[in-house]
C-alpha cells in the first residue's frame, strides 16, 4: 500500500488553515464534479479529493494523519505501525463503510476502526445502502442481461479493524430498464450488525454510447439513410433495429428529418417506448460521366430552387 499525501491532493501546504483547506476542496470539487467536468478521469479525481478532504477537514483525523505522515512521503510503501492512532478518538466520524467503494485501502487502513470506536454503533442495525452506476448496452435492455460486478465491501476483522474486501456477484438486469432508472439489489449493500440485515445496493443505469441509436427516456432514435428516389417516390426498405430487422415503408414525398414512428418498438418497459427512424436523404456521388449526366439532366428538367423561400 502506498502512502497518500492528502495535502498534495488538495494542493495546500501542511500548515494550511481550515479555511484554506475548505477553499481548496471547493475549487477542486467544482473542477472535477463528475456531472459537468470534461477532465477524462474526473470521477477518480473527485474520489481522491473527497477522501483528502474527509481527513484534512476533520481536526482529529488530520492530527492523527499529520503525526503518522511525518516519516512518510507520497508513493512510499506504507504500513501503519501498531497502535499508530493511540490517543486519538475519531468520535464516531471514522470510516463507516457507507461509501466503501469511494475510499482507498490506505484510508480504510487508517480510519477503519469504527467497529470498536463508534460510540453509537450499537444503535446501528441494518447495513447501509450503497449506490453505484452500471453501464449497459442498449441491446441488453431488449433482451435482459447478466452482468458480473466486483464490489468492495467492508468487513470487520477480529481486531475490530474494518477492511475492504472484493467480491464478485452476477446480477440479472431486468428487461426494459432505461437510462437514468435505478435498479435495486436487496441485501447487497453494507453489512448489518450481527443479527441484522445488510443494506441494499442501488445501481443507476446508463447506456454505453451507441453508433446507431440514441435514447431519450424510453424512446429510441435512429437515423435511416434513404436515396433521393426512395424519399421522393416512396419505398419499403429494411433496417436493423435493436431487437431484429424491420421493413419500413417510406412515404412518398418524404424529406430529410421526417420521423417515422414504430409504436412500441422502443425500450420494452411495462409501458414500452417507441422507436423513431429519422430520415436522412443521401445523395449518390457523381463520380462517373453517367452520374454527372443524370444530375445535369435533373438541373435542366426539374427547375428546382431549394432557396426559393429565401427569395433568392
Amino acid at each position: 500500500m502506498e502512502f497518500k499525501d492528502y495535502y498534495k491532493t488538495l494542493g495546500v501546504s501542511r500548515d494550511a488553515s481550515a479555511e484554506e483547506i475548505k477553499k481548496a476542496f471547493r475549487r477542486l470539487a467544482r473542477k472535477y464534479h463528475p456531472d459537468v467536468s470534461k477532465v477524462a478521469d474526473a470521477e477518480q479525481k473527485m474520489q481522491e479529493v473527497n477522501e483528502a478532504n474527509t481527513v484534512l477537514s476533520d481536526p482529529e483525523k488530520r492530527a492523527a494523519y499529520d503525526q503518522l505522515g511525518q516519516s512518510y512521503q507520497a508513493g512510499k510503501e506504507f504500513r501503519p505501525p501498531p497502535d499508530w492512532d493511540a490517543g486519538f478518538e475519531f468520535s464516531g466520524r471514522g470510516f463507516s463503510g457507507a461509501q466503501a467503494g469511494d475510499y482507498s485501502d490506505f484510508f480504510a487502513e487508517l480510519f477503519g476502526r469504527m467497529g470498536e470506536r463508534t460510540p453509537h454503533s450499537h444503535h446501528r442495525t441494518r447495513g447501509e445502502d450503497h449506490h453505484a452506476k452500471i453501464m449497459l448496452d442498449l441491446e441488453d435492455t431488449y433482451r435482459g442481461a447478466s452482468r458480473s460486478l466486483t464490489l468492495r465491501t467492508p468487513h470487520v476483522d477480529d481486531k475490530g479493524q474494518i477492511k475492504l474486501a472484493e467480491h464478485k456477484i452476477n446480477v440479472r438486469i431486468p428487461k426494459g430498464v432505461h437510462e437514468g432508472q435505478v435498479i435495486r439489489l436487496a441485501g447487497q449493500g453494507g453489512p448489518g450488525m450481527p443479527g441484522a440485515s445488510a443494506g441494499d445496493l442501488f445501481l443507476e443505469v446508463h447506456f454505453n454510447p451507441h453508433a446507431r441509436y440514441r435514447v431519450e427516456k424510453k424512446d429510441v432514435y435512429a437515423t435511416l439513410p434513404v436515396s433521393p428516389w426512395e424519399a421522393t417516390l416512396g419505398a419499403t426498405v429494411k433496417f436493423p433495429v435493436p431487437d431484429g430487422l424491420v421493413e419500413v415503408r417510406i412515404p412518398e414525398g418524404s424529406q430529410t428529418d421526417r420521423k417515422l414512428r414504430l409504436k412500441g418498438r422502443g425500450i420494452p418497459a411495462a409501458s414500452p417506448g417507441d422507436l423513431y427512424l429519422v430520415l436522412e436523404v443521401v445523395l449518390p456521388p457523381a463520380t462517373t460521366p453517367k452520374a454527372k449526366e443524370i444530375y445535369q439532366m435533373m438541373a435542366r428538367e426539374l427547375a428546382f430552387n431549394p432557396r426559393e423561400k429565401m427569395g433568392v
Binding site: 476542496f25 471547493r26 470539487a29 467544482r30 456531472d35 459537468v36 457507507a98 441494518r126 447501509e128 445502502d129 449506490h131 447478466s146 464478485k168 456477484i169 452476477n170 446480477v171 440479472r172 438486469i173 431486468p174 426494459g176 430498464v177 437510462e179 437514468g180 432508472q181 435505478v182 435498479i183 435495486r184 439489489l185 436487496a186 447487497q188 441494499d200 442501488f202 445501481l203 443507476e204 454510447p209 451507441h210 453508433a211 446507431r212 441509436y213 440514441r214 435514447v215 431519450e216 435512429a222 437515423t223 439513410p225 436522412e280
Partner: protein
C-alpha cells in the same frame, strides 16, 4: 460460479419517505424540507406519508445532498444546479450520435 442475483427496477418498488432518507443517509426532516421547498418530488401532496420516490427522485436527492455538503449550498441553489445538470445530460444525450455510421 456465483449465483445470479435478481434486481428490481425502483419504479416497481417505489421508496417511502423513510426509505429514501435511509438510503441517502439523511434524516427524514431533510427530505421533508426539500420536498416542501420544491426541489424534490414536484407536485407532492401535503401528507408525507403518501409520498413515494422513484429513480429520478433518488438520483436527484443524492445529487442535491452532495452539492449542499461540498459547497455549503442552500436547498434552492442546489436544486437549481441539479436542474442545470439534468438539462446538460438531456442535451448531451439528444445530440448523440450526430450521424449514422
Amino acid at each position: 460460479m456465483s449465483r445470479e442475483i435478481n434486481s428490481i427496477s425502483l419504479e416497481d418498488a417505489l421508496l417511502s419517505l423513510d426509505e429514501l432518507a435511509t438510503s441517502c443517509n439523511v434524516n427524514r426532516e431533510w427530505v421533508i424540507e426539500h420536498v416542501q421547498c420544491g426541489v424534490l418530488l414536484e407536485d407532492a401532496g401535503s401528507d408525507p406519508a403518501l409520498w413515494v420516490f422513484g429513480s429520478h427522485s433518488l438520483i436527484r436527492a443524492r445529487r442535491i445532498l452532495a452539492l449542499e455538503k461540498d459547497f455549503d449550498s442552500n436547498p434552492e441553489l442546489a436544486g437549481l444546479v441539479a436542474d442545470l445538470v439534468e438539462e446538460i445530460e438531456y442535451l448531451r444525450k439528444s445530440t448523440y450520435p450526430k450521424k449514422q455510421t
